[in-house]
């Protein structure tokens, strides 16, 4: 019976191919969407695991960019909260205009840069000198005595994007006022968030962001070896009630919330793709069944039961599901890999995603074939034979 099913499919090559294509594209879409979502999640996860420390900011503010807190809170944290190694004051300034580029309007979503003012001397107390120093490619880190000097560490990506290198100037605009920064070091962390940061001395960032003396945006707190970051975070919040201490786990769980919504959105698009694929299968099989009324009449006359006819048609559409699924998974894996070469996000088509998509394709084939198969099996053999 399988042979007959395949022979029938092969007899109508163009139609079978179109149904296969429809199903393949649906599967491809699902794989693409899910792997891109997975890629974004992986990206954030990698970025956050690179950060490691606790971000301390004003409890009332959603982001360090908008947060303002007293700089002396850092001393309080370092002195009075057990398990704290260092609390680095940080001032953030979203750099909308760098050189001749409006990074928020002209660039892609991953080309938005922020100036990060930091305390170079305190950074030295970070484990391995902190994430930027650890990933320094060339040039040098910010120096202790350079606080206030107009110098900057930029990422390899930024160097490429703005066409600048160590020793050259980078112009950052605050409204209509240009600020010239000398590039002293190039780093590459591999995290698209960290690699979009321009690292400058704290005092320079203060001037750029217009933050008063004695005020900073946030603290970057690193814990002592053996300390429990979650406990340290709770202790900070207990000691200074106006602060919010976000551990990487907390930030990640916040992103997880966003990703849940993203996943629902992607699932909706994926469901539409699958629906379109299913409609294609149903349409193909209905056409095929309508055309082959006489054949079913003959099959019934030669002793095929209704169930036999049903099985034949379901076999045919299941075969479309299997082949379309294999093609969709193959093309999906290949395209996802190819797309990964051109995007900072690395979409990953995991084996479990491919296997799940394959089974979705088979299910689509079987379910899409059920109604046409039922129609075929209900045909009155007499009517079917006379239908010429």
């Amino acid at each position: 019976m399988l042979k007959l099913a395949f022979t029938n499919l092969a007899a109508k090559k163009a139609r079978t191919l179109l149904a296969l294509l429809g199903l393949m594209i649906a599967i491809l879409g699902v794989i693409g969407l899910i792997s891109i979502s997975g890629g974004i999640e992986t990206l954030f996860h990698e970025t956050l695991t690179k950060v490691e420390g606790i971000t301390v900011l004003n409890k009332a503010m959603p982001s360090p960019v908008m947060s303002r807190i007293p700089e002396k809170d850092g001393d309080t944290i370092e002195r009075e909260v057990p398990g704290v190694e260092v609390a680095i004051p940080t001032i953030m300034f979203p750099a909308f205009q760098i050189e001749d580029k409006n990074t928020y309007l002209e660039g892609r979503i991953f080309d938005m840069y922020a100036v990060i003012g930091t305390d170079a001397a305190k950074r030295r107390r970070l484990k391995d000198g902190g994430v930027f120093n650890r990933h320094l490619l060339r040039g040098r880190a910010l120096e202790d005595r350079t606080d206030g000097r107009a110098e900057v560490m930029i990422s390899k990506d930024a160097a490429a994007f703005f066409g600048r290198d160590v020793g050259q100037k980078l112009r950052v605009w605050k409204g209509l006022e240009p600020f010239e920064l000398e590039i002293v070091g190039i780093f590459h962390t591999g995290s698209i968030i960290l690699d979009r940061q321009l690292i400058v001395p704290l005092r320079f960032a203060r001037e750029l962001a217009g933050v008063r003396e004695g005020i900073v945006c946030s603290f970057y707190v690193e814990t002592k070896p053996g300390a429990n970051p979650a406990q340290v975070g709770r202790d900070i919040e207990a000691r200074l009630a106006h602060l919010d201490a976000r551990t990487p786990e907390e930030v990640e769980s916040e992103f997880a919330f966003i990703f849940r919504d993203l996943d629902i959105f992607l699932a909706a698009i994926g469901a539409i793709a699958i629906l379109v694929g299913a409609v294609g299968v149903v349409n193909t099989m209905l056409m095929s069944v309508t055309e082959r009324v006489t054949e079913f009449g003959v099959l019934r006359a030669t002793g095929w039961t209704r169930g036999d006819v049903l099985r034949l048609v379901v076999c045919e559409s299941a075969a479309i599901g299997v082949i379309g699924g294999l093609a969709g998974c193959g093309a999906g894996a290949a395209i996802v890999r190819a797309v990964g070469l051109f995007l900072p996000v690395r979409p990953v088509a995991t084996p479990s995603l491919l296997v799940a998509s394959f089974f979705v394709a088979i299910a689509l084939g079987v379910l899409g074939g059920l109604y046409p198969a039922w129609r075929a099996s209900r045909l009155d053999p007499i009517h079917a034979i006379r239908h010429i």
Partner: protein, 261 residues
Amino acid sequence: MPSATSDVNPPPAGAFLAAVAVGKTYRRGVTEVRALRGATLDIARGGVTFIVGPSGSGKSTLLHLLGALDRPTAGRVLFEGRDLSALSDRELSLFRRRHVGFIFQSFHLVPALTATDNVLLPRMPEGIRDQDRRRARDLLSRFGLGERLDHRPHELSGGESQRVAIARALLYDPSLVLADEPTGELDSTTGAEVFGYLRRAVREGGKTLVVVTHDTGLLEPGDRIVRFRDGNIVEDSVVPQGPPPPPDVAGADAAAARARA
């Protein structure tokens, strides 16, 4: 009404195949067509029965009822004394598979399958064994198609196609073979040749053959002729020994059939 006559004509005990006061009414759009009006007919095991009559006289409908392809709306069809109307749709299908071979006017081969696979079609639901494949090839060889085993229908002539269809009907070695205008799409020479194959196979296998046809050139002495008109049997006779078939049978009907072909 036909149901009343069923009491008058009880089924004869031991008949191989019997239609007892069968009626068949179906709808075509808003009109009701009474294709059969209480026909009663016994067919003995073995031998060839021709059902003749004008188009629309109910011949084909009776053939479908005898082959369990359709159910009568009145009366009963008995196969070896068993009432077929008591069977479920699935049981009827299995009955057809085991006991009935159908041959149609337009062959009705599956275009995508080879000659051998077309013969094997009735076997496909149960799975094809090597012995089935051998039997299919043997049948085709017996019908002079030994060189055509892997040809597809579009590569076969009409006569060859109908021989494939006959082989398909005989795959399960059924005791009853039903043919609906088997030569209707063939010229008279080819028709006679193809029907010769069928007649031989039926005679050798001791099968019972019922043929609906306009082609009275197929008749041989000893064949039974059942004539239909307006859904009822109007004549039941046996072709007498001696060469010329009855002139009224060989006349208008056959000429009309040839003219159509």
